[in-house]
């Protein structure tokens, strides 16, 4: 344990994390283990509300692990142990009293590969509101579906074929359908795990434009392998390396003059 503390004590990110005013999500001294193997070391990070925060780093650096901690997706992984705290608006999300289903309604997620349910476009978006009982009747449900599709920038393209299967849409449309499905339950935070890596550049640009629009209503966290994407869509960037949060700050700062040599080497495409 002492070794871990020494490692994280040097990290400049520790001081910076404390500097976020009014964070929506806050991780404090977060350690994550998969069995005996430690995957994250003392992460301290504040995620500000109504901003896009991106996580970057080489494969296996812990960024996806950390993302999955934020809505307790790691609960489902055998042998995964989380220590430290994560708070959502000052509420500890690992508190025993927390209903995980409710938590995931507040913190939605969009995955790398679009994964619409084998149902109609309408039912895909209506799924969440139905199981959470968010509408009293069909009219209200239709309203929610329409508004969500609209916000996801998809309504115009699908409004005449809401009963067709969601799987029949193009990849980019499917991903926007998944975003519509995520926002249908009015979450506060949307986590995105490489949402564009299976999409072509045009579909990617549409999603990026959408992310920028969504941030006025939601807090967004995105994991991406494309540093250009992180630079384009996020206001804040966190760089992970070997399970540590190496550096964290405003995106323009990180991409023009990072303070840690490891960040520098990674984002400039040097071996790191």
């Amino acid at each position: 344990m002492s070794e871990i503390q020494t490692r994280t004590a040097d990290a400049p990110a520790v001081e910076q994390a404390a500097a976020v005013p009014d964070p929506k999500l806050t991780a404090t001294d977060l350690d994550v283990f998969y069995g005996q193997k430690q995957a994250l070391f003392g992460i301290r990070l504040g995620i500000p509300a109504n901003q896009v925060t991106s996580f970057i780093g080489p494969s296996g650096c812990g960024k996806s692990t950390f993302l999955r901690c934020l809505n307790r997706m790691n609960d489902t992984i055998e042998g995964c142990r989380v220590e430290g705290t994560i708070t959502l608006d000052d509420q500890d999300i690992y508190d025993r009293k927390i209903d995980v289903v409710q938590l995931r309604a507040r913190i939605g997620m969009v995955f790398q590969k679009p994964n619409p349910f084998p149902k109609s476009i309408f039912d895909n978006v209506a799924y969440g509101p139905r199981i959470h009982g968010l509408s009293r009747d069909r009219t209200e449900l239709e309203e929610i579906v329409h508004v969500s599709l609209e916000k996801a920038g998809l309504l115009k393209e699908v409004k005449d074929r809401l009963e067709e299967p969601g799987t029949g849409l193009s990849g980019g449309q499917q991903q926007r359908l998944c975003i519509a499905r995520a926002i249908a339950v009015s979450p506060e935070v949307i986590l995105m795990d490489e949402p564009c890596s299976a999409l072509d550049p045009i579909a990617t640009a549409k999603i990026e434009e959408l992310i920028d629009e969504l941030r006025s209503n939601f807090t967004i966290v995105i994991v991406t392998h494309s540093m250009q994407q992180a630079a384009r869509v996020s206001q804040r960037t966190a760089f992970f390396h070997l399970g540590e949060l190496v550096e964290w700050g405003e995106t323009p700062q990180i991409f023009t003059s990072p303070s840690d040599p490891r960040t520098q080497d990674y984002i400039t495409g040097r071996i790191g």
């Binding site: 991409f255 990072p258 495409g269």
Partner: protein, 238 residues
């Protein structure tokens, strides 16, 4: 792991090295042009002046070459952090050097004009200014090559000396012209030559600031006090 490491894509390293080489070559040429143009003035050497005027084309051509390469690197490699600063810095430095070259060329042209009129006394101060700027230019280029922010700051501070020399030469020329209006043609050329040298110094300080930013990612801290006061200078007609 540090900034000295090579890129995974080695062609990127070669392109950055090429940008670096062009800047060094441009800087070396500009330094030589300053030297030659001042010599042409004091030795009344019109042939040498002609060579300087011709020589400026090479600097211009290198600037275009650098611009093309820099734009290509930006478009194809999307450089980040220190690489981005290196490319943007090279672009800016090249235009500063190009301007320095233009001033040298202008001095050479005036050397040709001055060779046709009788020499004037204040001309003696010109070489001192010229050598000083040439030295600052050399220091600046060394700071660029080594990416040394301390050396850049040192070179930057020396521009105050250039301004001081310029201020006194400006006053001297005004006095001289009032005393003997027949010298106005020559003195005006000398005045412009001095102004050109002073501007070269300013461009050198720009380069120092860029080098500092390239090396550290931060702007140079304090503002240097402007010591060129000639814009406010009047001479009493007594």
């Amino acid at each position: 792991m540090n900034g000295e490491n090579t890129h995974i894509v080695s062609a990127f390293d070669q392109e950055l090295a090429k940008l670096n080489d062009i800047i060094i070559q441009m800087g070396g040429l500009a330094e030589a042009q300053i030297n030659s143009s001042i010599h042409a003035v004091i030795k009344r050497d019109t042939e040498r002046a002609g060579i300087v005027v011709e020589g400026d084309k090479k600097i211009d051509q290198l600037e275009r070459e650098l611009e093309e390469l820099a734009v290509k690197v930006l478009a194809l490699r999307q450089p980040m952090a220190s690489d981005l600063r290196a490319v943007v810095g090279a672009l800016k430095i090249s235009s500063d050097i190009e301007r320095i070259g233009d001033y040298a060329k202008n001095i050479a042209k005036r050397a040709i004009a001055l060779a046709q009129v009788p020499p004037v006394e204040p001309l003696r101060s010109v070489p001192r200014m010229g050598w000083l700027v040439q030295q600052i230019m050399k220091q600046t280029l060394d700071a660029y090559i080594t990416r040394d922010p301390a050396a850049a700051t040192e070179a930057w501070q020396r521009d105050a000396e250039v301004d001081d020399l310029y201020n006194s030469l400006f006053r001297e020329l005004l006095t001289y012209m009032m005393e003997d209006p027949r010298t106005i043609t020559a003195c005006t050329h000398v005045l412009f030559i001095a102004k050109n040298i002073e501007r070269m110094g300013d461009h050198a300080t720009n380069i120092c600031e860029i080098v500092h930013f390239m090396a550290t990612g931060k702007a140079m801290p304090e503002d240097r006090k402007k010591t060129d006061t000639t814009s406010f200078t009047v001479v009493d007609k007594t």
